[in-house]
Amino acid sequence: MAAVRRNILTDETARKNYVQGVKLLKQEQLGPTTADLGIPGPPVQVSTYDLFVAWHHLAMDTFTPPTQSDRNAAHRGPVFLPWHRFMLVLLELQLQRVLNDADVGLPYWDWAADGELDPDEQPASPVWADDGMGGQGSPITSGPFAFDAADPASWRVRVAANVQGQLRATNRGLRRAFGQSVQTLPTQADVAAALELSDYDAPPWSTQSDGFRNRVEGWRPLESAPGLHNRVHVWVGGDMLPSSSPNDPVFYLNHCNEDRIWTAWQERHPTSLYLPDQNAPQELQGHRIDDAMHSLLTNPVTPRQMLDPSDFYTYDTLAVS
């Protein structure tokens, strides 16, 4: 039976399972070290959770094609949505494994609902409560991921990007700084406008494209960017800003909601196909429908294989705006 992904603010069991699961993955060390990830310095064991942090960074560090510096193997191009769906499915499978429950689904944060609050009220949303994801700070000091220097089991950032765009080993608490670079979260009207777009993507297949993918990723409209997905990263701030943003478990709540929006769009536009198809030029390799995506697995997985996730999960509701 497929897992059901639920709203973290209305389903206490989904929240508890998620917090417990990511903490177990954060503690699980199966052998890989920072040296295996190309990180200089004395080798330090990295957790299963941190392998996903590194994967996200390395995919972002892989330009497609390498002769340009806009599209990468997971962002700023058509593969953005299927790649992140794949990443979330892989993490969800790991959560199910460590929780020994194949029905556990990732929760989502319906950030557009919080975007309807007054700007001053948005940092006080229940998602940031002690019994939610905790609050802001450098490091954060409340909630399940609060840092306690005396407690080695408290949530610690162990692999993070630096200003040169490289991964480094570290050992510190999680950081968030709400509303610093943008004051508000995306709104339900922003989501509704994205759902109206009937084309999945369009030339030049980048941050300048008109189409649903680029709108959800958050590069358009330019005058109000960052939008949707990007805006949530930027509003949360702190560790949600660099390429190592999966360090914050809120990363997955954001992407789960964005995936829910994509699922709602797929239902609304059943005849709109993923683009580009496999006849597109070689320079779009990594983004065409049957190209292998940047992966943590040996077996290739393609965007086409991620278009119908119904055997993995469903959502409790596709009411997104």
């Binding site: 497929a2 052998g31 295996d36 490289q166 670079s181 800003l241």
Partner: protein, 122 residues
């Protein structure tokens, strides 16, 4: 794709094995970029207009307190500047971009910090 198919392939052991396989191929994170320390960052924009092929190469030399900033920086055809280390933002001004870097990576701008991130953090 069927859940059973991916679940079989996505064991923790398989992920670890893949990391080990790829590890030797990964660029060391202090050598991974195609320009060396102190080298400028070049961004190339290309477009076609009425059959004419346009190429614009823009070179950036960025320093903060004398320390070079050397990650991937690009300019898109709409003139927006973006930088690999803050992937969810683009800027009309490279100065605003660098201000964002200072806000986002405070430890990289503290006195005595190795500007290239070598070695362990604290």
């Amino acid at each position: 794709m069927k859940r059973s198919e991916l679940a079989r392939a996505a064991t923790a052991e398989a992920i670890v094995e893949r990391v080990a396989e790829q590890g030797a191929q990964l660029p060391r994170q202090d050598q991974g970029h195609d320009h060396g320390h102190g080298m400028p960052m070049e961004s190339t924009r290309e477009a076609t207009y009425y059959g004419h092929h346009i190429v614009i190469r823009t070179t950036y030399h960025i320093e903060v307190d004398g320390t070079p900033i050397e990650g991937h920086l690009g300019v898109t055809n709409d003139g927006q500047v973006h930088y690999h280390a803050v992937p969810n933002l683009s800027f009309a001004s490279a100065v605003d971009l660098v201000k964002q870097l200072i806000d986002t990576f405070p430890e990289d701008f503290e006195a005595g910090t190795d500007p290239h991130g070598h070695g362990q953090g604290s």
